[in-house]
Subunit: 275 residues, 2 copies
Protein backbone atom coordinates (compact mmCIF):
# COMPACT_ATOMS: atom_id res chain seq x y z
CA UNK A 1 0.00 0.00 0.00
CA UNK A 2 1.28 3.43 -0.97
CA UNK A 3 0.45 6.75 0.66
CA UNK A 4 -0.59 9.35 -1.92
CA UNK A 5 -1.30 12.15 0.55
CA UNK A 6 -2.17 12.80 4.17
CA UNK A 7 -3.73 16.05 5.42
CA UNK A 8 -4.57 16.99 8.96
CA UNK A 9 -8.35 17.45 9.20
CA UNK A 10 -10.54 18.07 12.25
CA UNK A 11 -7.86 16.76 14.59
CA UNK A 12 -7.48 13.55 12.60
CA UNK A 13 -5.98 12.63 9.24
CA UNK A 14 -7.53 12.58 5.78
CA UNK A 15 -5.40 10.18 3.78
CA UNK A 16 -5.39 8.95 0.20
CA UNK A 17 -3.83 5.56 -0.48
CA UNK A 18 -3.19 3.24 -3.43
CA UNK A 19 -2.91 -0.52 -3.44
CA UNK A 20 -2.81 -3.38 -5.92
CA UNK A 21 -6.27 -4.96 -5.82
CA UNK A 22 -6.57 -8.71 -6.13
CA UNK A 23 -10.26 -8.28 -6.96
CA UNK A 24 -9.95 -5.88 -9.90
CA UNK A 25 -6.42 -6.76 -10.98
CA UNK A 26 -5.59 -3.04 -11.05
CA UNK A 27 -4.22 -0.43 -8.71
CA UNK A 28 -7.07 1.08 -6.70
CA UNK A 29 -7.12 4.40 -4.86
CA UNK A 30 -9.18 5.14 -1.76
CA UNK A 31 -9.60 7.92 0.79
CA UNK A 32 -9.66 7.26 4.53
CA UNK A 33 -10.44 9.70 7.30
CA UNK A 34 -9.03 8.60 10.66
CA UNK A 35 -10.22 10.55 13.72
CA UNK A 36 -7.87 11.57 16.53
CA UNK A 37 -9.19 8.71 18.67
CA UNK A 38 -7.43 6.19 16.41
CA UNK A 39 -4.17 7.07 18.16
CA UNK A 40 -5.53 5.32 21.25
CA UNK A 41 -6.88 2.19 19.58
CA UNK A 42 -9.18 0.86 16.86
CA UNK A 43 -12.16 3.03 15.91
CA UNK A 44 -15.49 2.15 14.25
CA UNK A 45 -15.75 2.43 10.48
CA UNK A 46 -18.28 4.04 8.16
CA UNK A 47 -18.10 3.15 4.45
CA UNK A 48 -19.16 5.88 2.01
CA UNK A 49 -19.86 4.60 -1.51
CA UNK A 50 -19.98 7.27 -4.20
CA UNK A 51 -22.18 7.73 -7.24
CA UNK A 52 -21.78 7.76 -11.01
CA UNK A 53 -18.76 9.65 -12.43
CA UNK A 54 -17.17 9.98 -8.98
CA UNK A 55 -13.75 8.88 -7.82
CA UNK A 56 -12.70 8.47 -4.18
CA UNK A 57 -12.20 12.24 -4.09
CA UNK A 58 -15.64 13.78 -4.64
CA UNK A 59 -17.29 12.94 -1.35
CA UNK A 60 -14.00 13.24 0.51
CA UNK A 61 -13.79 16.87 -0.62
CA UNK A 62 -17.42 17.94 -0.79
CA UNK A 63 -19.64 15.91 1.55
CA UNK A 64 -18.46 17.47 4.79
CA UNK A 65 -18.24 14.10 6.54
CA UNK A 66 -14.97 14.68 8.38
CA UNK A 67 -16.43 17.27 10.74
CA UNK A 68 -19.09 14.90 12.11
CA UNK A 69 -16.95 11.77 11.92
CA UNK A 70 -14.34 13.56 14.04
CA UNK A 71 -17.02 14.53 16.54
CA UNK A 72 -18.13 10.91 16.81
CA UNK A 73 -14.67 9.31 16.66
CA UNK A 74 -15.50 7.31 13.55
CA UNK A 75 -13.30 6.51 10.53
CA UNK A 76 -14.75 7.01 7.04
CA UNK A 77 -13.61 5.06 3.96
CA UNK A 78 -14.12 6.60 0.51
CA UNK A 79 -13.51 3.90 -2.15
CA UNK A 80 -13.33 4.57 -5.88
CA UNK A 81 -16.37 3.62 -8.01
CA UNK A 82 -14.61 1.43 -10.58
CA UNK A 83 -11.24 0.13 -11.72
CA UNK A 84 -9.25 2.60 -13.84
CA UNK A 85 -6.03 2.84 -15.80
CA UNK A 86 -4.32 1.34 -18.79
CA UNK A 87 -6.04 -1.72 -20.20
CA UNK A 88 -9.27 -1.11 -18.29
CA UNK A 89 -12.22 -0.89 -20.70
CA UNK A 90 -14.51 2.12 -20.73
CA UNK A 91 -17.58 3.44 -22.50
CA UNK A 92 -18.35 6.88 -23.89
CA UNK A 93 -21.45 7.11 -21.71
CA UNK A 94 -21.02 8.59 -18.23
CA UNK A 95 -23.05 5.75 -16.73
CA UNK A 96 -21.13 2.71 -17.97
CA UNK A 97 -17.56 1.55 -17.47
CA UNK A 98 -15.07 3.68 -15.55
CA UNK A 99 -16.80 5.67 -12.81
CA UNK A 100 -19.83 3.41 -13.08
CA UNK A 101 -18.94 0.05 -11.55
CA UNK A 102 -22.38 -0.28 -9.95
CA UNK A 103 -20.88 -2.39 -7.14
CA UNK A 104 -21.25 -5.69 -8.98
CA UNK A 105 -18.91 -8.37 -10.34
CA UNK A 106 -19.16 -8.40 -14.14
CA UNK A 107 -19.27 -11.69 -16.03
CA UNK A 108 -19.40 -10.37 -19.61
CA UNK A 109 -16.64 -9.17 -21.94
CA UNK A 110 -15.03 -6.68 -22.00
CA UNK A 111 -15.93 -5.92 -18.37
CA UNK A 112 -15.40 -9.25 -16.65
CA UNK A 113 -11.62 -8.99 -16.29
CA UNK A 114 -11.49 -5.89 -14.07
CA UNK A 115 -15.01 -4.80 -13.09
CA UNK A 116 -15.30 -6.71 -9.80
CA UNK A 117 -16.49 -3.95 -7.52
CA UNK A 118 -18.61 -6.28 -5.39
CA UNK A 119 -15.60 -8.39 -4.45
CA UNK A 120 -13.48 -5.28 -4.09
CA UNK A 121 -15.77 -3.64 -1.52
CA UNK A 122 -16.90 -6.85 0.18
CA UNK A 123 -13.54 -8.60 0.50
CA UNK A 124 -10.45 -6.95 -0.90
CA UNK A 125 -10.54 -3.43 0.50
CA UNK A 126 -11.72 -4.54 3.98
CA UNK A 127 -8.62 -6.76 4.24
CA UNK A 128 -6.34 -3.94 3.15
CA UNK A 129 -7.70 -1.36 5.59
CA UNK A 130 -7.97 -3.83 8.48
CA UNK A 131 -4.31 -4.71 8.03
CA UNK A 132 -3.03 -1.16 7.72
CA UNK A 133 -5.13 0.98 10.04
CA UNK A 134 -6.48 0.99 13.61
CA UNK A 135 -10.03 0.05 12.61
CA UNK A 136 -12.50 -1.97 14.66
CA UNK A 137 -13.89 -4.21 11.91
CA UNK A 138 -16.52 -5.55 14.33
CA UNK A 139 -18.12 -2.12 14.27
CA UNK A 140 -18.87 -1.23 10.65
CA UNK A 141 -21.66 0.81 9.05
CA UNK A 142 -22.28 1.78 5.43
CA UNK A 143 -23.77 4.66 3.47
CA UNK A 144 -23.63 6.00 -0.06
CA UNK A 145 -25.04 8.40 -2.61
CA UNK A 146 -27.08 7.54 -5.72
CA UNK A 147 -25.32 4.53 -7.33
CA UNK A 148 -23.42 4.35 -4.05
CA UNK A 149 -26.69 4.31 -2.14
CA UNK A 150 -27.65 1.28 -4.22
CA UNK A 151 -24.29 -0.18 -3.25
CA UNK A 152 -24.71 0.55 0.45
CA UNK A 153 -28.19 -0.97 0.60
CA UNK A 154 -27.24 -4.11 -1.33
CA UNK A 155 -24.02 -4.76 0.61
CA UNK A 156 -25.88 -4.25 3.90
CA UNK A 157 -28.62 -6.71 3.02
CA UNK A 158 -26.50 -9.29 1.18
CA UNK A 159 -23.84 -9.51 3.90
CA UNK A 160 -25.87 -10.09 7.06
CA UNK A 161 -23.97 -9.38 10.27
CA UNK A 162 -21.36 -7.22 8.53
CA UNK A 163 -22.88 -3.78 9.04
CA UNK A 164 -24.68 -2.52 12.14
CA UNK A 165 -26.57 0.21 10.28
CA UNK A 166 -27.13 1.35 6.70
CA UNK A 167 -28.11 4.69 5.25
CA UNK A 168 -28.27 6.25 1.80
CA UNK A 169 -28.56 9.62 0.11
CA UNK A 170 -30.86 9.55 -2.94
CA UNK A 171 -30.15 5.86 -3.61
CA UNK A 172 -31.06 3.95 -6.75
CA UNK A 173 -33.66 1.76 -5.10
CA UNK A 174 -34.80 -0.64 -7.79
CA UNK A 175 -32.14 -0.89 -10.51
CA UNK A 176 -33.69 -3.88 -12.27
CA UNK A 177 -36.64 -1.62 -13.14
CA UNK A 178 -34.67 1.57 -13.92
CA UNK A 179 -32.51 2.86 -16.76
CA UNK A 180 -29.96 3.32 -14.00
CA UNK A 181 -29.52 -0.40 -13.56
CA UNK A 182 -30.96 -2.28 -16.54
CA UNK A 183 -28.41 -0.82 -18.94
CA UNK A 184 -25.46 -1.60 -16.70
CA UNK A 185 -26.65 -5.02 -15.53
CA UNK A 186 -27.21 -6.04 -19.16
CA UNK A 187 -23.70 -4.90 -20.09
CA UNK A 188 -21.97 -6.42 -17.07
CA UNK A 189 -24.03 -9.64 -16.77
CA UNK A 190 -25.71 -10.19 -20.14
CA UNK A 191 -29.10 -11.85 -20.08
CA UNK A 192 -31.52 -10.79 -17.35
CA UNK A 193 -31.71 -14.38 -16.14
CA UNK A 194 -28.08 -14.01 -14.96
CA UNK A 195 -28.64 -10.84 -12.96
CA UNK A 196 -27.76 -11.34 -9.36
CA UNK A 197 -29.84 -10.14 -6.42
CA UNK A 198 -28.22 -6.69 -6.56
CA UNK A 199 -31.42 -4.72 -6.16
CA UNK A 200 -32.37 -3.09 -2.86
CA UNK A 201 -36.10 -3.47 -3.40
CA UNK A 202 -35.78 -7.18 -4.23
CA UNK A 203 -33.49 -7.74 -1.25
CA UNK A 204 -35.97 -5.92 0.97
CA UNK A 205 -38.76 -8.14 -0.35
CA UNK A 206 -36.53 -11.10 0.48
CA UNK A 207 -36.14 -10.18 4.13
CA UNK A 208 -34.54 -6.75 4.52
CA UNK A 209 -31.78 -5.61 6.83
CA UNK A 210 -31.14 -6.72 10.39
CA UNK A 211 -30.60 -3.24 11.83
CA UNK A 212 -31.72 0.36 11.38
CA UNK A 213 -31.97 2.01 7.94
CA UNK A 214 -32.09 5.72 7.08
CA UNK A 215 -32.77 7.07 3.59
CA UNK A 216 -32.95 10.70 2.48
CA UNK A 217 -34.06 11.78 -0.99
CA UNK A 218 -34.84 15.31 -2.19
CA UNK A 219 -38.24 16.20 -3.61
CA UNK A 220 -36.48 18.27 -6.32
CA UNK A 221 -34.03 15.51 -7.23
CA UNK A 222 -33.50 15.88 -10.98
CA UNK A 223 -33.16 12.09 -11.27
CA UNK A 224 -36.14 11.27 -9.07
CA UNK A 225 -37.80 8.97 -11.60
CA UNK A 226 -34.62 6.94 -12.04
CA UNK A 227 -34.30 6.29 -8.30
CA UNK A 228 -37.57 4.36 -7.82
CA UNK A 229 -37.90 5.47 -4.21
CA UNK A 230 -41.56 4.40 -4.00
CA UNK A 231 -40.66 0.78 -4.73
CA UNK A 232 -38.31 0.60 -1.76
CA UNK A 233 -40.66 2.58 0.46
CA UNK A 234 -43.42 0.06 -0.19
CA UNK A 235 -41.09 -2.89 0.31
CA UNK A 236 -39.78 -1.44 3.60
CA UNK A 237 -43.30 -1.00 4.90
CA UNK A 238 -44.31 -4.53 3.89
CA UNK A 239 -41.18 -5.97 5.49
CA UNK A 240 -41.71 -3.87 8.64
CA UNK A 241 -38.08 -2.80 8.19
CA UNK A 242 -36.75 -0.79 11.13
CA UNK A 243 -35.95 2.55 9.59
CA UNK A 244 -37.20 5.56 7.71
CA UNK A 245 -37.34 7.12 4.28
CA UNK A 246 -37.38 10.90 4.41
CA UNK A 247 -38.39 13.06 1.45
CA UNK A 248 -36.54 16.35 1.88
CA UNK A 249 -38.41 19.30 0.45
CA UNK A 250 -36.61 21.32 -2.21
CA UNK A 251 -33.34 19.38 -2.22
CA UNK A 252 -31.78 18.03 -5.41
CA UNK A 253 -29.23 15.29 -6.20
CA UNK A 254 -26.07 17.33 -5.51
CA UNK A 255 -23.47 17.35 -2.77
CA UNK A 256 -25.30 20.39 -1.36
CA UNK A 257 -28.05 17.91 -0.49
CA UNK A 258 -25.63 15.26 0.79
CA UNK A 259 -23.68 17.67 3.00
CA UNK A 260 -26.87 19.13 4.46
CA UNK A 261 -27.91 15.78 5.91
CA UNK A 262 -24.47 14.33 6.61
CA UNK A 263 -24.63 15.27 10.30
CA UNK A 264 -27.88 13.32 10.69
CA UNK A 265 -26.49 10.26 8.94
CA UNK A 266 -23.28 10.11 10.93
CA UNK A 267 -25.17 10.60 14.20
CA UNK A 268 -27.50 7.78 13.11
CA UNK A 269 -24.60 5.44 12.44
CA UNK A 270 -22.79 6.47 15.63
CA UNK A 271 -25.81 5.41 17.66
CA UNK A 272 -25.64 1.92 16.14
CA UNK A 273 -21.84 1.68 16.24
CA UNK A 274 -21.62 2.65 19.91
CA UNK A 275 -24.71 0.71 21.04
CA UNK B 1 -27.58 39.44 -13.45
CA UNK B 2 -28.06 35.88 -14.57
CA UNK B 3 -28.68 32.83 -12.40
CA UNK B 4 -26.32 29.98 -13.27
CA UNK B 5 -27.56 27.55 -10.65
CA UNK B 6 -29.37 27.39 -7.33
CA UNK B 7 -29.20 24.40 -4.97
CA UNK B 8 -30.97 23.94 -1.70
CA UNK B 9 -28.36 23.70 1.07
CA UNK B 10 -28.78 23.57 4.84
CA UNK B 11 -32.28 25.02 4.62
CA UNK B 12 -31.09 27.94 2.48
CA UNK B 13 -29.92 28.36 -1.09
CA UNK B 14 -26.45 28.05 -2.59
CA UNK B 15 -26.60 30.08 -5.80
CA UNK B 16 -24.13 30.86 -8.58
CA UNK B 17 -24.68 34.06 -10.54
CA UNK B 18 -23.08 35.95 -13.42
CA UNK B 19 -23.08 39.67 -14.08
CA UNK B 20 -21.38 42.21 -16.34
CA UNK B 21 -18.80 43.94 -14.16
CA UNK B 22 -18.19 47.65 -14.65
CA UNK B 23 -14.91 47.27 -12.76
CA UNK B 24 -13.30 44.51 -14.82
CA UNK B 25 -15.15 45.06 -18.08
CA UNK B 26 -15.91 41.33 -18.20
CA UNK B 27 -18.61 38.98 -17.07
CA UNK B 28 -17.90 37.89 -13.51
CA UNK B 29 -19.25 34.81 -11.71
CA UNK B 30 -19.83 34.57 -7.97
CA UNK B 31 -21.35 32.16 -5.46
CA UNK B 32 -23.77 33.30 -2.77
CA UNK B 33 -25.16 31.24 0.09
CA UNK B 34 -28.39 32.68 1.48
CA UNK B 35 -29.63 31.19 4.76
CA UNK B 36 -33.31 30.42 5.39
CA UNK B 37 -33.62 33.59 7.49
CA UNK B 38 -33.29 35.72 4.33
CA UNK B 39 -36.93 34.91 3.57
CA UNK B 40 -37.91 37.10 6.52
CA UNK B 41 -35.62 40.06 5.82
CA UNK B 42 -32.04 41.15 5.18
CA UNK B 43 -29.30 39.01 6.73
CA UNK B 44 -25.68 39.84 7.63
CA UNK B 45 -22.98 39.10 5.06
CA UNK B 46 -19.62 37.33 5.24
CA UNK B 47 -17.26 37.75 2.30
CA UNK B 48 -14.96 34.79 1.56
CA UNK B 49 -12.02 35.65 -0.72
CA UNK B 50 -10.27 32.68 -2.29
CA UNK B 51 -6.64 31.94 -3.00
CA UNK B 52 -4.41 31.44 -6.03
CA UNK B 53 -5.82 29.24 -8.84
CA UNK B 54 -9.31 29.26 -7.33
CA UNK B 55 -12.57 30.33 -8.91
CA UNK B 56 -15.77 31.15 -6.98
CA UNK B 57 -16.38 27.39 -6.78
CA UNK B 58 -13.53 25.96 -4.70
CA UNK B 59 -14.46 27.28 -1.28
CA UNK B 60 -18.16 27.06 -2.08
CA UNK B 61 -17.75 23.32 -2.59
CA UNK B 62 -14.97 22.40 -0.16
CA UNK B 63 -14.78 24.81 2.78
CA UNK B 64 -17.91 23.61 4.56
CA UNK B 65 -19.06 27.16 5.28
CA UNK B 66 -22.75 26.67 4.53
CA UNK B 67 -23.36 24.47 7.57
CA UNK B 68 -22.18 27.10 10.04
CA UNK B 69 -23.50 30.09 8.08
CA UNK B 70 -26.94 28.46 8.12
CA UNK B 71 -26.67 27.93 11.86
CA UNK B 72 -25.84 31.61 12.36
CA UNK B 73 -28.23 33.00 9.74
CA UNK B 74 -25.44 34.65 7.76
CA UNK B 75 -25.03 34.95 3.98
CA UNK B 76 -21.65 34.09 2.44
CA UNK B 77 -20.36 35.58 -0.82
CA UNK B 78 -17.75 33.65 -2.84
CA UNK B 79 -16.29 35.96 -5.53
CA UNK B 80 -13.96 34.83 -8.30
CA UNK B 81 -10.25 35.63 -7.95
CA UNK B 82 -9.73 37.40 -11.30
CA UNK B 83 -11.41 38.38 -14.54
CA UNK B 84 -11.60 35.58 -17.12
CA UNK B 85 -12.70 34.94 -20.66
CA UNK B 86 -11.91 35.97 -24.20
CA UNK B 87 -9.55 38.90 -24.47
CA UNK B 88 -8.43 38.70 -20.84
CA UNK B 89 -4.64 38.32 -20.62
CA UNK B 90 -3.08 35.44 -18.73
CA UNK B 91 0.31 34.05 -17.82
CA UNK B 92 1.65 30.52 -17.89
CA UNK B 93 2.49 30.69 -14.18
CA UNK B 94 -0.22 29.65 -11.73
CA UNK B 95 0.43 32.74 -9.64
CA UNK B 96 -0.02 35.52 -12.20
CA UNK B 97 -2.95 36.56 -14.36
CA UNK B 98 -6.19 34.57 -14.35
CA UNK B 99 -6.84 33.03 -10.95
CA UNK B 100 -4.28 35.38 -9.39
CA UNK B 101 -5.82 38.85 -9.28
CA UNK B 102 -4.30 39.55 -5.86
CA UNK B 103 -7.18 41.92 -5.05
CA UNK B 104 -5.52 44.98 -6.58
CA UNK B 105 -6.22 47.34 -9.48
CA UNK B 106 -3.49 46.91 -12.09
CA UNK B 107 -1.98 49.94 -13.82
CA UNK B 108 0.44 48.18 -16.18
CA UNK B 109 -0.14 46.57 -19.59
CA UNK B 110 -1.41 44.02 -20.41
CA UNK B 111 -3.20 43.76 -17.05
CA UNK B 112 -4.57 47.26 -16.56
CA UNK B 113 -7.63 46.87 -18.77
CA UNK B 114 -9.36 44.07 -16.84
CA UNK B 115 -7.45 43.28 -13.63
CA UNK B 116 -9.34 45.60 -11.29
CA UNK B 117 -10.13 43.21 -8.45
CA UNK B 118 -9.84 45.89 -5.77
CA UNK B 119 -12.60 47.96 -7.36
CA UNK B 120 -14.57 44.82 -8.12
CA UNK B 121 -14.68 43.64 -4.50
CA UNK B 122 -14.80 47.08 -2.89
CA UNK B 123 -17.42 48.68 -5.11
CA UNK B 124 -18.87 46.74 -8.00
CA UNK B 125 -19.91 43.43 -6.47
CA UNK B 126 -21.31 45.01 -3.27
CA UNK B 127 -23.68 47.11 -5.42
CA UNK B 128 -24.78 44.05 -7.39
CA UNK B 129 -25.52 41.86 -4.38
CA UNK B 130 -27.12 44.68 -2.37
CA UNK B 131 -29.51 45.34 -5.24
CA UNK B 132 -30.44 41.73 -5.89
CA UNK B 133 -30.52 39.98 -2.52
CA UNK B 134 -31.89 40.47 1.00
CA UNK B 135 -28.54 41.46 2.52
CA UNK B 136 -27.97 43.84 5.41
CA UNK B 137 -25.00 45.78 4.06
CA UNK B 138 -24.59 47.53 7.41
CA UNK B 139 -23.52 44.19 8.85
CA UNK B 140 -20.58 42.89 6.82
CA UNK B 141 -17.55 40.81 7.75
CA UNK B 142 -14.72 39.44 5.63
CA UNK B 143 -12.46 36.41 5.54
CA UNK B 144 -10.28 34.63 3.02
CA UNK B 145 -7.63 32.00 2.39
CA UNK B 146 -3.99 32.56 1.37
CA UNK B 147 -4.08 35.26 -1.37
CA UNK B 148 -7.69 35.75 -0.26
CA UNK B 149 -6.53 36.19 3.32
CA UNK B 150 -4.28 38.97 2.06
CA UNK B 151 -7.35 40.39 0.35
CA UNK B 152 -9.54 40.15 3.44
CA UNK B 153 -6.98 41.83 5.67
CA UNK B 154 -6.25 44.65 3.23
CA UNK B 155 -9.90 45.41 2.43
CA UNK B 156 -10.75 45.38 6.14
CA UNK B 157 -7.99 47.84 7.03
CA UNK B 158 -8.22 50.06 3.95
CA UNK B 159 -11.99 50.49 4.13
CA UNK B 160 -12.57 51.57 7.75
CA UNK B 161 -16.15 51.16 8.92
CA UNK B 162 -17.05 48.70 6.16
CA UNK B 163 -16.43 45.41 7.98
CA UNK B 164 -17.20 44.65 11.62
CA UNK B 165 -14.69 41.80 11.84
CA UNK B 166 -11.95 40.25 9.75
CA UNK B 167 -10.41 36.80 9.74
CA UNK B 168 -8.08 34.83 7.52
CA UNK B 169 -6.88 31.29 6.89
CA UNK B 170 -3.15 31.10 6.16
CA UNK B 171 -3.05 34.63 4.74
CA UNK B 172 -0.19 36.16 2.81
CA UNK B 173 0.76 38.66 5.49
CA UNK B 174 3.52 40.78 3.98
CA UNK B 175 3.37 40.55 0.17
CA UNK B 176 5.84 43.35 -0.46
CA UNK B 177 8.49 41.13 1.15
CA UNK B 178 7.39 37.78 -0.34
CA UNK B 179 7.63 36.05 -3.71
CA UNK B 180 3.86 35.82 -3.32
CA UNK B 181 3.44 39.54 -3.78
CA UNK B 182 6.56 41.12 -5.23
CA UNK B 183 6.21 39.24 -8.51
CA UNK B 184 2.56 40.17 -8.92
CA UNK B 185 2.84 43.75 -7.70
CA UNK B 186 5.73 44.31 -10.13
CA UNK B 187 3.68 42.90 -13.00
CA UNK B 188 0.46 44.71 -12.14
CA UNK B 189 1.95 48.05 -10.96
CA UNK B 190 5.47 48.23 -12.37
CA UNK B 191 8.03 50.04 -10.27
CA UNK B 192 7.94 49.44 -6.51
CA UNK B 193 7.47 53.18 -5.95
CA UNK B 194 3.97 52.79 -7.46
CA UNK B 195 2.88 49.93 -5.21
CA UNK B 196 -0.15 50.85 -3.21
CA UNK B 197 -0.61 50.12 0.48
CA UNK B 198 -1.89 46.61 -0.25
CA UNK B 199 0.10 44.84 2.41
CA UNK B 200 -1.48 43.70 5.67
CA UNK B 201 1.67 44.17 7.70
CA UNK B 202 2.18 47.72 6.41
CA UNK B 203 -1.48 48.56 7.01
CA UNK B 204 -1.20 47.14 10.53
CA UNK B 205 1.87 49.31 11.15
CA UNK B 206 -0.20 52.25 9.91
CA UNK B 207 -2.98 51.77 12.44
CA UNK B 208 -4.59 48.35 12.08
CA UNK B 209 -8.25 47.38 12.07
CA UNK B 210 -11.03 48.89 14.13
CA UNK B 211 -12.57 45.59 15.26
CA UNK B 212 -11.62 42.02 16.12
CA UNK B 213 -9.21 39.99 13.97
CA UNK B 214 -8.73 36.20 13.88
CA UNK B 215 -5.95 34.46 11.93
CA UNK B 216 -5.26 30.73 11.69
CA UNK B 217 -2.17 29.27 10.02
CA UNK B 218 -0.97 25.65 10.10
CA UNK B 219 2.46 24.75 11.44
CA UNK B 220 2.84 22.29 8.54
CA UNK B 221 1.78 24.79 5.89
CA UNK B 222 3.87 23.92 2.83
CA UNK B 223 3.98 27.63 1.92
CA UNK B 224 4.76 28.87 5.42
CA UNK B 225 7.82 30.91 4.38
CA UNK B 226 5.85 32.72 1.68
CA UNK B 227 3.15 33.81 4.14
CA UNK B 228 5.35 35.93 6.41
CA UNK B 229 3.14 35.31 9.44
CA UNK B 230 5.75 36.55 11.90
CA UNK B 231 5.76 40.00 10.31
CA UNK B 232 2.03 40.44 10.89
CA UNK B 233 2.21 38.88 14.34
CA UNK B 234 4.82 41.42 15.39
CA UNK B 235 2.89 44.30 13.85
CA UNK B 236 -0.35 43.22 15.57
CA UNK B 237 1.38 43.09 18.93
CA UNK B 238 2.97 46.51 18.42
CA UNK B 239 -0.34 48.01 17.34
CA UNK B 240 -2.16 46.34 20.27
CA UNK B 241 -4.61 45.09 17.63
CA UNK B 242 -7.67 43.39 19.15
CA UNK B 243 -7.38 39.84 17.89
CA UNK B 244 -5.37 36.68 17.72
CA UNK B 245 -3.03 34.72 15.49
CA UNK B 246 -3.27 30.98 16.08
CA UNK B 247 -0.65 28.50 14.87
CA UNK B 248 -2.48 25.22 14.35
CA UNK B 249 -0.28 22.21 14.92
CA UNK B 250 0.07 19.78 12.03
CA UNK B 251 -2.25 21.56 9.60
CA UNK B 252 -1.23 22.44 6.04
CA UNK B 253 -2.45 24.93 3.41
CA UNK B 254 -5.36 22.84 2.06
CA UNK B 255 -9.13 23.03 2.34
CA UNK B 256 -8.85 20.29 4.99
CA UNK B 257 -7.27 22.98 7.14
CA UNK B 258 -9.79 25.65 6.14
CA UNK B 259 -12.84 23.46 6.76
CA UNK B 260 -11.51 22.33 10.14
CA UNK B 261 -11.54 25.90 11.49
CA UNK B 262 -14.49 27.26 9.52
CA UNK B 263 -16.88 26.77 12.44
CA UNK B 264 -14.63 28.92 14.66
CA UNK B 265 -14.34 31.67 12.07
CA UNK B 266 -18.05 31.91 11.37
CA UNK B 267 -18.85 31.92 15.09
CA UNK B 268 -16.25 34.69 15.50
CA UNK B 269 -17.86 36.79 12.77
CA UNK B 270 -21.38 36.08 14.05
CA UNK B 271 -20.44 37.52 17.42
CA UNK B 272 -19.38 40.78 15.73
CA UNK B 273 -22.25 40.85 13.26
CA UNK B 274 -24.91 40.35 15.93
CA UNK B 275 -23.26 42.56 18.58
Amino acid sequence: METISENRSFGGTQGVYKHASSATGTDMTFGLFMPAEAADGPVPVLWYLSGLTCTHANAMEKAGAQSWAAEQGIAVIFPDTSPRGEGVPDDEAYDLGQGAGFYVDASEAPWSKHFKMWSYIAEDLPSVVAENFALDMDRQAITGHSMGGHGALTFAMALPGRFRSVSAFAPICHPTKSDWGRKQFAAYWGDEANWGPHDATLLMQGGGFDGPMLIDTGTDDQFFDLLGTHHLAAAMAEAKQEGQIRLQKGYDHSYYFVSTFMEDHIAFHAEALYA
